[in-house]
């Protein structure tokens, strides 16, 4: 038997839902204003000549230029390399933090988070001081005789990568650490009591159960690093040119809003594609993870 719904109660439910939806309006307004509108404007710009006439010329120019594609490759190389290093350094670090005693973990966490409170510009120039030919690191290396010549640590790919990893590591660490900390200690004990060595515990219990956190961290790293500008601009010394610096160059040197807009759209598409890829991979992995070991 189904009772007929009371219209008054249904109206109450509707009113409640509307109220909670309405809470999102201010945020939606800002997002609309600050994100959607500029993007629409950029899309329009990309079809305009400097004279203000409609054209596909910007697309032809940008997409046929070798510089664009090498910038795209550099962008992906930087992002992937940053991500790889973040995973290699960050996962063990998160594991160490998660297994430390709470007080020790809090202190260590504060150190990890400290860079996040410093402006990226300050940090980037900080690295410049450390990594220059006559910087602290090279002075120490040559001074102690470890290397005869100063190492080329900056104004190149390596320097850019160091700066980017430094920026991204805490952001990668947070979700991984949270996931690992939430693993029930009894699961680890159970695994070990059944005979698992430390390596087996990590491989069969800890990593699978923190995969969600590693995924989130990776997504953050990728989305951030795709659009990184300051670090490649300062530490790359003009030799590392991802899409972001190309956009800036196109604008500041050539005042070519049309081409810059096309590059911007290209960046947007790459980001969206990677976002979708991550989501799909995540869905796939959780589905498999639920069904199998």
């Amino acid at each position: 038997m189904t009772a007929t719904a009371d219209p008054a109660l249904a109206a109450d439910a509707l009113r409640e839902r509307r109220f909670f939806l309405s809470l999102s309006l201010p945020a939606l307004f800002i997002v609309g204003l600050a994100a959607i509108l500029p993007i629409l404007w950029i899309i329009r710009q990309s079809f305009l000549t400097t004279g203000g006439e409609y054209t596909f010329g910007n697309y032809e120019k940008v997409l046929s230029s070798g510089l664009t594609w090498s910038a795209l490759v550099t962008t992906l190389e930087l992002s992937l390399a940053t991500l790889a290093i973040c995973i290699l350094l960050g996962t063990p670090l998160a594991l160490a933090l998660a297994s430390a005693r709470p007080r020790v973990a809090n202190v260590l966490m504060a150190f990890v988070m400290l860079p996040l409170w410093t402006s990226i510009l300050v940090r980037t120039y900080g690295w410049l001081v450390l990594l220059r030919r006559d910087g602290l690191i090279n002075a120490a290396l040559t001074g102690s005789g470890l290397t005869a010549e100063p190492l080329p640590l900056v104004y190149n790919f390596t320097g850019t990568l160091i700066g980017m990893v430094h920026y991204m590591l805490p952001l990668f660490l947070l979700p991984v650490y949270a996931a690992m900390r939430d693993i029930d200690a009894n699961l680890i004990r159970a695994s070990s009591s059944m005979g698992a060595s430390l390596g087996q515990v990590i491989r069969t219990v800890i990593l699978p159960l923190s995969a969600g956190g590693i995924f989130s961290g990776s997504t953050i790293v990728f989305i951030y690093t795709i659009g990184f500008f300051i670090t490649p601009a300062v530490l790359g010394g003009g030799k590392v040119n991802p899409l972001s610096t190309r956009i800036e160059r196109t604008l500041s040197t050539f005042q070519d809003w049309g081409s810059a807009s096309v590059l911007g759209i290209l960046l947007l598409i790459v980001m969206a594609m990677i976002g979708v890829m991550f989501l799909a991979a995540r869905r796939l992995s959780t589905r498999n993870g639920a069904a199998h070991a």
Partner: protein, 346 residues
């Protein structure tokens, strides 16, 4: 399968100034089912975790057979554990959970699968092997945990309140099944609970713990009838601790000088049901309650007003319904059921 005796020799553990285990010694025979019984915070889990290797004792020795395991790594101890929250791996299905210890031992896949399925059948879970853990009921999870703990044929089994999350009926079924499984396999088992009935039903012997110490270790019957301390007496069911001087011998002889422990259900209201060497308690009825299978009477004893619980089986208590509060009542108990508490005998 060969099971091993366990020796716990003067084990102590403190957390800061808090003493969680206070010089605990315990010998468990090979194949025995021993229950650690005690209130919350008495150190039961700490003792189990020390045996499993997850809590490092401050001092003392742990032996499995004649092998000293005090400093052995947990994964080398070969101990099966059923955790209170089951600790099943959420990212593996039922079969993978049960086959996990076998996979760690590099057993060929087909054989591991067969063994795991056999064990699942033993705990009556055949047919659920491909299920996700999240899709199991509490009782089914409990069985998976049990299967996973026995599948690798450990020589010792530790169970930490494995039934506390189940409802009463299921708990009783599982008590019976766990005990049967133990009798089939003969694994030396230490079982933790704070439910005294569960301890009485399941155990060969019970060790009663309080504040990190073992108060008494004995068979269920002796723990119940002959508690050595007031704590044990009161923890195991409705016990009356009666000061000397409030009791009268029916035959007029001198009554004991010790403090007495008399269980509520040892009393009769009919003098004829108790021998001449039994005792009598006189007082006024404070309260009465009908509990289905019995009546519970509360008497305030003459000379001090100490309250005593008297439990009369409904079948023998035709008159209880008519008793009115304030009425004088005499309760009798046979000599065999009157237990002088050893700790009070100077």
């Amino acid at each position: 399968m060969e099971s091993l005796p366990i020796t716990i020799d003067s084990v102590s553990k403190s957390y800061g100034t808090y003493v969680a285990l206070d010089d605990v010694s315990l010998d468990i025979q090979a194949g025995e089912f021993l229950t650690l019984l005690g209130p919350s915070g008495s150190g039961k889990t700490t003792l189990l975790m020390a045996l499993a290797g997850f809590v490092r004792p401050d001092s003392g020795k742990l032996l499995l057979g004649d092998r000293d395991i005090t400093r052995l790594a947990p994964n080398k101890r070969d101990i099966g554990i059923v955790f209170q929250n089951y600790a099943l791996f959420p990212h593996m299905n039922v079969l993978a959970n049960v086959a996990y210890p076998l996979a760690l031992r590099k057993m060929p896949k087909a054989e591991a699968r067969r063994r795991a399925l056999d064990t699942l059948a033993r705990v009556k879970l055949e047919g659920l092997s491909e299920r996700n853990i999240a899709a199991l009921s509490g009782g089914q999870r409990q069985r998976v945990a049990l299967a996973r703990a026995i599948v690798f044929e450990p020589r010792v089994m530790l169970m930490d309140e494995p039934l506390s999350a189940l409802d009463k009926n299921l708990r009783e079924t599982m008590q019976y099944e766990i005990r049967r499984l133990h009798d089939d396999l003969g694994i030396t088992t230490i079982y933790v609970t704070h439910d005294q009935r569960e301890a009485l039903i399941m155990s060969d012997r019970i060790a009663v713990m309080n504040s990190g110490r073992i108060q008494q270790i004995d068979t269920p019957q002796r723990i119940y009838d002959r508690p050595s301390t007031r704590f044990v007496a009161e923890f195991m069911g409705e016990a009356n601790i009666v000061a000397p001087g409030l009791v009268r011998r029916i035959d007029g002889a001198d009554a004991s000088r010790a403090t007495l422990m008399i269980r509520a259900e040892s009393f009769h209201l009919d003098e004829k049901l108790v021998g001449r060497d039994g005792i009598a308690l006189e007082g006024t009825l404070r309260a009465k309650a009908f509990r289905g299978e019995n009546w519970l009477l509360t008497l305030a004893l003459d000379g001090g007003g100490q309250e005593v619980l008297v439990c009369i089986p409904a079948a023998l208590a035709s008159g209880c319904g008519e008793l009115a509060t304030g009425q004088r009542v005499t309760a009798y108990a046979p000599a065999a059921k009157v237990h002088p508490l050893p700790e009070t005998i100077a």
